[in-house]
Symmetry: C4
Subunit: 234 residues, 4 copies
């Protein structure tokens, strides 16, 4: 039964999702087995996510876990003898409710989580943040694991918002993207701006960026930057 | 005489303890020859600990040191020509007095030690801390090396406490676990939350987590997370 | 047509510029695809710059992009099928207006950008800063991408100034040098002093360095340090 | 002529000094070509030091520079075609005036330099600092390169002091040791405690360690720690 589930699309997403976890390590966004990346399987009501509590050194395409959009492991699929990430329900909720999202990332990266522990949005005072997030990075509600409340908090906060990152109060950061790589980029950039703005403010008052400049930067970056600009989700 | 001391269980613990020291380096918890990991030998009144003042690059199973629960090097055992870690007495005291503990770690990791230099417990304001430590990370007494006072301070503070980490005043952090790996995980997570909560508080007032949410998170994490949840010590 | 464009001088600059990007990674000045290095081709009205939005792991001499001093990609040159860095116009403006400049670097390195988010110059309170920058690191205007305003801000701020680094308000840091390596050194040192002075000031009042000592240090360093002292730009 | 200068003792010190520079890189104490290690040649009025302005990746025993205790390069010695570190005069002054010193290290490591920019001694509030430095790390005078004033400031501050590290005002840190490795250890530990105590104090008031406990810790560590305790310089 495994073989017919393992379509080329599934294999491709397994490879991408497994490999992208190395970026969380490279940029210091995770410790031990914390954090997780998932990616939607194009053309199917499925997504691929990291197993729970497995070392980053041991992640590989074949131990990524294939789930339905209800967050249930597909029986008989590769790796299905393991439990998926304990955040699987939140990822699934996002995929069910935001059809344009192709990737989700969750970390407890230090600076983003520090803002989350104060339930404080990160103000947009650097142009890289205007480019990437189109303004502030917002705060989502306090919600604990065990039902749909984390997923619902992510979706309610990000739906219609330019930002692809949300600081979940007292918890950490979730990011979304058009695919898993785009969501990982958002996670890397969210921590980078969380750190820079924190340090900036420790030194004295911040200079705001005029809102119309934020708008121009965001528009340009979504449409011009890179080799194959396609826009992002917002 | 060496051969009969080197049971399969001893060899296994030597390998694990030697290898786990690399995690202290990977996560930046130690500098130079500081810090140490030990592991109890299952089914024997023995534990294995790092030698004193040896480079992390040079640690290997055969130079780990086998001690009795009184902290005395087992004569004739592999590596017994060297001195054990100067913190051996504290580890031994923990093993004698907390029979469920299978591993002990000590570091002077930066942020944990910073809280310890103020004799201030780390408040539980992030869910990862509720998961892992079930509440605040407490402070133990000021005690200096040379007798049982460090070991006694660790045991008195952690006995019956949910936290597997204690900040020893003006000193550093000790963690315990069901085995050496579990204690290393606690050391990694203790520094991670020490850093995040420090940075969070530099930016303004922290939002507390309701105690009943802390309880629910701790219960769930001890029983559900990972591939083989077995609960931890607390 | 490619072959005659690829003179030995162009090939040499391609190799240097591609390789120097690794220094931005080594010193943690950039994340993801951010940041860029360029180098002027000696004896030609050309410079070589990083392509836009390409991973640091994938940079190589043959995908660096050759531009005229108007910031236009040289048609038919190696790599010309890609877009150059989105900061190419700013680099080009600097090369057109400061003929002694042979290299330009741009990053959003954390501490330099933090000072830029406050529009605050970095005061010269450490001798390494006097050596390298001859005094404070100044702030340039708020300017956004899309025309010559960033390049003009860099040139107006650095022209006649001892500093080879400018903090562009709400944006990041640009550095110049007699060649690409010298500009990269300035970027590394700018972040180093931005970090040290930030941390110093968090702890209390800074001790100023007398202006005549700053002058002596700068003079000496520009003329004596290293194996082949040739002076820098200022 | 080179061959008779290259005694076994000189070759040994060249190897040690070249290799020890990698520890400055490993612990993040230096950027670019900054920082330097030197080691006295036992039984000779000579020391070996890093060349000026050479990349850390390119340091090797044969390009270390052999100097007399006046800080003059030994003519015809290996590597003598290069300039020695610009801090050579300060190292030489220390070797001339403190005969028990066998190694000297200088860095601009971030946190130590931050205390130096405020001309503030680092208070002894953690036991690792009592062990290693026997109390506070003192501040030396403001002195600039070009004559003996840096060397004199180091010697006047450290002579008779327990600390093997001195924060030179507005400059950086110098450390001494019984050999080059011991001085490098002091440089690593000085930055570690500079960072920990800085961060600790950002969070609130520090708890002092009673002076008699500092004395006991220092005595014990100098005489008991490690595999071959021999005491240090103080």
């Amino acid at each position: 039964m495994t073989s017919e589930l393992e379509t080329a699309a599934v294999r491709h997403v397994r490879e991408r999702v497994a490999a992208l976890h190395a970026e969380l390590v490279r940029y210091g966004l995770v410790v031990w087995t914390g954090g997780n990346v998932s990616g939607r399987v194009p053309g199917a009501d499925l997504f691929v996510i990291k197993p729970s509590g497995v070392d980053y050194d041991d992640l590989a395409p074949e131990n990524m876990i294939l789930c339905t959009l209800d967050g249930v492991v597909v029986p008989g699929s590769l790796g299905s003898e393991r439990s998926p990430s304990s955040d699987t329900a939140a990822h699934a909720y996002v995929y069910r409710n935001l059809p344009e999202v192709g990737g989700v990332v969750h970390t407890h990266s230090t600076y983003a989580t520090a803002w989350a522990a104060r339930a404080e949005a990160i103000p947009c005072v650097i142009t890289a943040m205007a480019d990437e997030f189109g303004g502030e990075i917002p705060v989502g509600p306090f919600a604990i694991i065990g039902d749909d409340s984390i997923g619902r908090g992510i979706v309610q906060t990000l739906n219609g918002h330019r930002s692809r990152a949300v600081l979940m109060q007292n918890h950490g950061v979730f990011t979304i993207g058009r695919d898993a790589r785009d969501a990982v980029k958002a996670a890397v950039m969210a921590e980078d701006v969380a750190r820079t703005v924190h340090i900036a403010r420790q030194g004295g008052p911040l200079v705001p960026i005029p809102p119309e400049a934020v708008d121009r930067l965001f528009d340009r970056y979504q449409n011009v930057y890179g080799q194959n600009p396609e826009g992002t989700l917002a």
